[in-house]
């Protein structure tokens, strides 16, 4: 059922967006790796992620567009003790980090009409970042809307007339904001469908 929904969603969106030859539409499954403060909070890689890119070619090699994504990091910590001043709390922690980037992007395509098209891109914008630390029946919630800079390198393979596959690597660098007093950053490895 889930597979059917996913296939339908991708198919409908692809038809809607890729009618124009100047448009590039990417849907990708996203694997995340936390770095810095986020990596300290959750060491495990995230296998729950999705990313969507729309790029419009203003010149053959240059495209502007936007990127939306969602990466959920999760780690169940074993029972451990946490001490602050003269108080100690012991128990299991369940840690969640949800990140929804919303970025404007600029892309440089090295060979737009070739079978293999490498590209580089830079995204600028914000993301909704929420971190939950669950213990007992309570949750400690931290939120923020950090400013984000996201460099990206990728490769598109044009398999058919307007359908292909893509793989890319993004580094989402979120500056400190809201409840977060340090940067919120992670790498994503994305593999998905590319429509042109």
């Amino acid at each position: 059922m889930k597979r059917l929904i996913l296939t339908l969603t991708i198919a409908v969106a692809a038809v809607t967006f890729s009618k124009a030859q100047n448009s590039y539409v990417d849907f990708a499954y996203s694997i995340g790796f936390g770095t810095g403060d986020m990596g300290d909070f959750i060491k495990k890689a995230s296998f729950r992620g999705i990313t969507f890119d729309y790029r419009y070619a203003v010149q053959p090699n240059i495209a502007i567009g936007f990127n939306l994504g969602w990466n959920t990091f999760y780690e169940e910590k074993g029972s451990d003790s946490y001490t602050v001043d003269n108080a100690t709390l012991t128990g299991k922690q369940y840690r969640y980090s949800n990140n929804v980037p919303m970025l404007a992007t600029g892309t440089y395509l090295f060979s737009p009409d070739e079978f293999l098209c490498p590209y580089v891109a830079l995204g600028v914008g914000t993301m909704y970042a929420r971190r939950n630390t669950d213990m007992n029946l309570y949750t400690l919630e931290e939120e923020g809307w950090p400013f984000v800079l996201q460099p990206e390198v990728g490769l598109r393979l044009q398999a058919a007339d307007n359908v292909g596959v893509l793989v890319n690597l993004k580094y989402l660098n979120g500056f400190k904001a809201g409840d977060f007093d340090s940067t919120q950053s992670y790498f994503t490895l994305n593999v998905g469908f590319a429509f042109h």
Binding site: A87, T88, G91, N136
Partner: protein, 206 residues
């Protein structure tokens, strides 16, 4: 179509959202705190009551206590005494003739929280044009959860002399808390007592 896409995405993403605790034990926590200025190392003795208070009822000015059945309370006391002995304390009787350095008081409490939620049944259909909607009235569900707490305090009876309100100073508090599963199994409580002492190494007299 927009609604369909939105609903598809929500279903898809909700399906892979990570779950939290699976078992009631996963909610167990042990909290301890102490007076950092207090010196435990020069104390030798403690006294405690023989019963564990579970509830207090006040009726027309009369106060009555509800105590934990002995078959459970005895296991808890054994566990507390073992830990206090290991830290170097001697237990002495609690009566007017003795003068313990510390008083240990245990209490077991439970608390039930009720909450309700509701949701509308949704439909999608084509009668006079297609669309989404909600059936009325919504369904209501009422749920509850019960948590149990094992609280142990250590107080210094001699400090009451220096208190303007003649109260003994509490120098250590431990609270173990978790979801109650009504299994008549106190192993989780015993485990929490061991943990409370384990994370309080400053209690030692050695």
């Amino acid at each position: 179509m927009k609604h369909f896409l939105k609903a598809s995405l929500v279903l898809l993403l909700a399906g892979c959202y990570p779950q939290g605790p699976e078992y009631v034990e996963d909610t167990d926590v042990v909290y301890t705190t102490h007076d950092e200025k207090y010196t435990f190392s020069d104390k030798d003795t403690y006294a405690r009551p023989d019963k564990i208070v579970m509830d207090v009822k006040i009726d027309n000015g009369d106060t009555t206590y509800e105590y934990m059945p002995d078959k459970f309370a005895d296991q808890i006391f054994d566990k507390i005494d073992d830990n206090m002995t290991a830290l170097g304390y001697d237990r002495i009787p609690l009566n007017g003739d003795t003068d313990p350095d510390l008083l240990l008081t245990p209490a077991a409490l439970s608390s039930t929280t009720y909450f309700y939620s509701y949701w509308y049944d949704w439909w999608y259909g084509c009668y006079y044009g297609c669309g989404w909607g909600w059936y009325y009235p919504p369904y209501y569900t009422i749920s509850s959860y019960t948590t149990g707490s094992m609280i142990i305090t250590l107080t210094d009876p001699h400090s009451a002399e220096n208190s303007p309100i003649n109260r003994s100073q509490t120098v250590w508090v431990s609270a173990g808390n978790g979801l109650v599963n009504y299994a008549y199994d106190i192993s989780r409580v015993l485990k929490s007592i061991d943990q409370a002492f384990k994370q309080s190494p400053y209690l030692t007299t050695k």
